[in-house]
Amino acid sequence: MQTDVNENSSTPKYWLSLEQWRNDEGFKELAQREFLSSPLAEDNKTPAGGWARREFLQLMGASLALSTFGCVRRPVEKIVPYAKRPKEIIPGLPNYYASTFVDGYDVVGTVVRTREGRPIKIEGNEFYPGSGEGLSARGQAQILSLYDPDRLTGPVQNLVNAKRTNKDTVSTNWVKAESALKAALGEGGVYVLSSSNPSPTSRSIIEKFVAQGKGKYFEFDILDRSTFINSQGRVTGTEIMPSFDLSAADVIVGIDADYLGTGVASTAHQRAFALRRDPGGSMNHVIQFESMMTLTGTNADERYAIKPSEQLAIALKLAESICIQMGVSFPFAWREIYGSFNDTIKGFPFAKKLNSIAEKLVKAKGKSLVITGAEASMTQNQSAVYDVVNFINGVLGNDGKTVKYSNSVSSVRGSVASLNELISLMNQELVKTLIIHNSNPLYTLPEASGFRSALAKVKTVFYTGDRVNETGIGSNYIIPDHHPLEKWMDVENISGVLSLSQPTIQPLYDTKAFEDILLQTLGSTQTWNQTVKASTLAKVGGSEKSWVQFLQKGVYGTVENSPKSGRSYNGSPLKIRLDEAADFELVLYTTVGIKDGTLANVSWLQEFPDPITKICWDNYLCISPKTALDSGLNEGDVVALTSNGITLDVPVHIQPGLNDRVLALALGYGQKAAGKVANDIGVNAYQFAAIEKDQIIYSGMNAKFKKTGQQIALANVQGHHSMEGRQIVVEATLKDILEDPQAGQHKHKVFSLWSEHKYLGHKWGMAVDLSKCNGCGACMIACQAENNIPVVGKRHVLNGREMSWIRIDRYYTGTPENPDVVYQPLMCMHCDNAPCETVCPVLATVHSDEGTNDMVYNRCVGTRYCANNCPYKVRRFNWFNYSKVSNPLKMVLNPEVTVRSRGVMEKCTFCVQRVKAKKTEVKLADRKLQDQEIKTACQQTCAAEALVFGDLNDPSSEVSKMQRSLRSYSLLEELAVMPAVKYMSKVRNVSQLKGADNHKKGGHH
């Protein structure tokens, strides 16, 4: 059925995995089966899929017995009303509080939904500049960290032995802990270490405290950006983290940048980026040079796989070429180094393209942007690369236009220099007391940094973390801070824009705001809450009324647009160190889900498949297909990876589009004491990093690996739920789309045996713009939080039992050496002629008169016929009682959505609870429903605004307009199932699509 235009007719044009590219027998079998295993066949030596008869009979017997005893009188239930009901709480109605999600220096304004006093969902705050209602997967997942069962319930003390290792952890009380702190303050030598602190009030209190204690306050981020800021200082004269305006950039060149995935302000970037991916408007052109495949790279029009040591050569070549074209002199100090790269540059497979890329940048001068700065760019020569990149932006006149200094990202404050200063002070035994706040240095800092041995010389260590993790074990006292959702906090992330965190729940445990402890120890009469209010009040207007407005809106201040250009820079000598070419260069990178590892114990994020590799519950060494072939490695083979004198055993993942000389490993895994979920998942890649005087090196390290002969199964969700090579994604070039909006689509003559449904009122539908979707996966976590979707664990994911209602399929196209990537969000299509409805023997899935495909859980008997008959593979079966969670985790459940039990089928409902809530609201207010008033959870969180939900019976609704667009197509149109979801083709701003498909009409059979 599937033929393609590739030379090899059996090679698919779009492929999910290398197994499919090679057309493996294993993949074919996987694609054929909806259910990869049966629990009845498990642990039995029966052939896969066969029934283990004896167990089946046992189970039958058990369920018969249960059903006979089911008829007992319903238990007496009690209702306990409030004695004095707070007037803002009405049972059954949600309350919303403005807050802020602080993820290192990535800060997003949020709105927290609470029900009867407990937070259940976080959304983006529409008033927050840049990101708007968009919220990342991590922002969505923060809610679950509040209910983490592994959080400390009160202060603890470590009894330390002579060797200063933890002998025993005992609970203590606040009186003891605070008097210890008070004594330390009197003694002097009190230092504080934290990650970048975005709260001005918190910073001033800490400064006051360390001044009293004759110490100093150090800020340090493990995902450091200080070298970039320093470079800004050298090149433009101002040491700040500028903000990038992607919406103003016509051409964007990234050199190991990940501005869409894990970088600073990525949510805001996603929104601005998507604005420029509309073929109707002026589409940007995106070029990416990268060592590891990142979310940004997969969204680029042109992507080149490089190795870290080539970054500088590329940057210099671009700079030189731009200088010539602009008539500016290329800095004299760089000529010698540039000359030494001559051969390297000539050797690039894309050598000829570099001049034309420079040309494109020059053509778009003032409206172009060159970005770098991801972990993969943090080589030993990172400062040199940043200097050259900042120089290029200056020459192109981008400063003040696409690179903005007026609203810099002021929350990036930490630096490696301050960490090193602290370590040397500790070694000199000048640090008597160290307070570690919002940071886990004993996990993140490599042993070679000397932090651990220096810490042993500190007399008393306080740690404000919420668990006895690596740093907790190394501290004398753990004085747990509130969770951010329990705490007041003022945040200034973008200079000039204030936002606020306000408590959304009473502290669950016996915790104390860190700043409160400091204030109390200082003998202040004001509490932390009062201090935040007092110091913020003046900034937001001074009156009580303006304070209340600030509380409601959550944001104060606006983004200005005052341009400020940098000074002229003539290029000072680059600080570089050139090593001999290595066999393999190691890249440590961060993933969209786990990032630096701070939310690692949140199970949603562990089961969140990485957008690119689609693997969850592990980190792994990415190697290129050629490297795998040369060294005889298969997916999941464990290798011993050696770099910087450290060896760790990791499984390999064969990653298409990776440079053959690059090995890549994700940071944030391998925690030993983060909690039941995260412990011992993967390996700790931070160990390979090197901390130098003023920089951290995450990339370009010499590395080698050796096969160990062991195997670890990697839980890869892509490959499950395959749609077997029919026309799934439609792609076209911008040129073709402008000529023919239907370019790339293969139209079918469709006829239906069914009579049509009549929709007299609403007819709900959705449109998905594949050009805008960047695959970040925030919608998956948003759906999980909204719809009580359980986590099943690695073992069950390996059996194909993940429960996500919306998934993002990632297709490669082109060759494994350098493929393009298409992301496609896929949820229930709510077909008019739904194949699932016709096969359900008990009418548990039926059509509503508003066009949705309803799932009635209490009717479902679990035949799973519907899932077998679903061409889109969007139905999920509860093989076990996954939802059975204990307190406090179950407090996160949304009371508006049924918690499904074992034996029940489930799937996307188009957030029917949101539809109903809005319809009721409209009815009570006697008004008409407006378009875009109802937003599904996935749509709401999508920063790119790629998903739009609405009423198809309203011709003026946004979704109707999108579905009428000629770019829209139905998935598997030929089946005539009439899905209510339509996709808009993916448009690339390139001259030719990969996969050698030259003709404009797409074909598949």
């Binding site: 008829c71 319903r74 007496v76 239930e77 009690k78 209702i79 306990v80 009303p81 409030y82 004695a83 004095k84 009901r85 009405i90 049972p91 059954g92 109605l93 007299l760 009122g761 609403h762 039926v846 509503s848 008169d849 508003e850 949705t852 309803d854 009635v856 859980y857 209490n858 508006e896 959505v897 049924t898 409902t909 029917v912 609870q913 109903k916 009721t920 009815k923 009570l924 008409k928 429903l929 009423d951 019976n953 309203d954 011709p955």
Partner: protein
Amino acid sequence: MIKKLIGAVVVLAVLAGIYTFFHLLVNNKLSIGYNKGYQPTQPLPFSHKLHSGELGLDCKYCHASAEVSRHSAIPSLNVCMNCHINLNKESKYLTQLKEAYNSGDSIAWVKVHMLPDHVKFNHAPHIKAGKDCQTCHGPVEQMEKVYQHSDLSMGWCISCHREQMDSAAHSSIIEEVKNKDQGQDSKKHVPSIINCSTCHY
């Protein structure tokens, strides 16, 4: 012989019993698992007959959230105290009430109306549609001790919803939409009142 006769009688009796059981069940004469008539004893003998019937308090004075929320919600004790702060009739129950109010240890009432499992019911739109509380809850104003008046079964819900669907008002809405079906403005609100997802989601 007698043994066989007894056996036959027993078998017949059992069959007759099963027949009657299903006959009653199918004809809605018998319901299983519903709590119709359930009349538990409450921790305080609050009398709806007195408050609602004799004193004429509106239901929604105490059950105010019924107008805006899915729950009609048992009133919090501060609602009782609106009046009882001034009404100081000597009574051990009132003393208990005030103690509970002052201590913040609220009263655990026994839930009377039990919806079947897996159903979501929302009071607000029903009140908005002009339904009297008595339609479902029966003559509460005459109840000294509240009992469940209706069985709250699915059949009971649907029968009322069907009546609404068949009512003249509703069919006129549908007609109007049909007429405009070809035209542009077909966006008249039609209540979708007997979808599965109306109550189950």
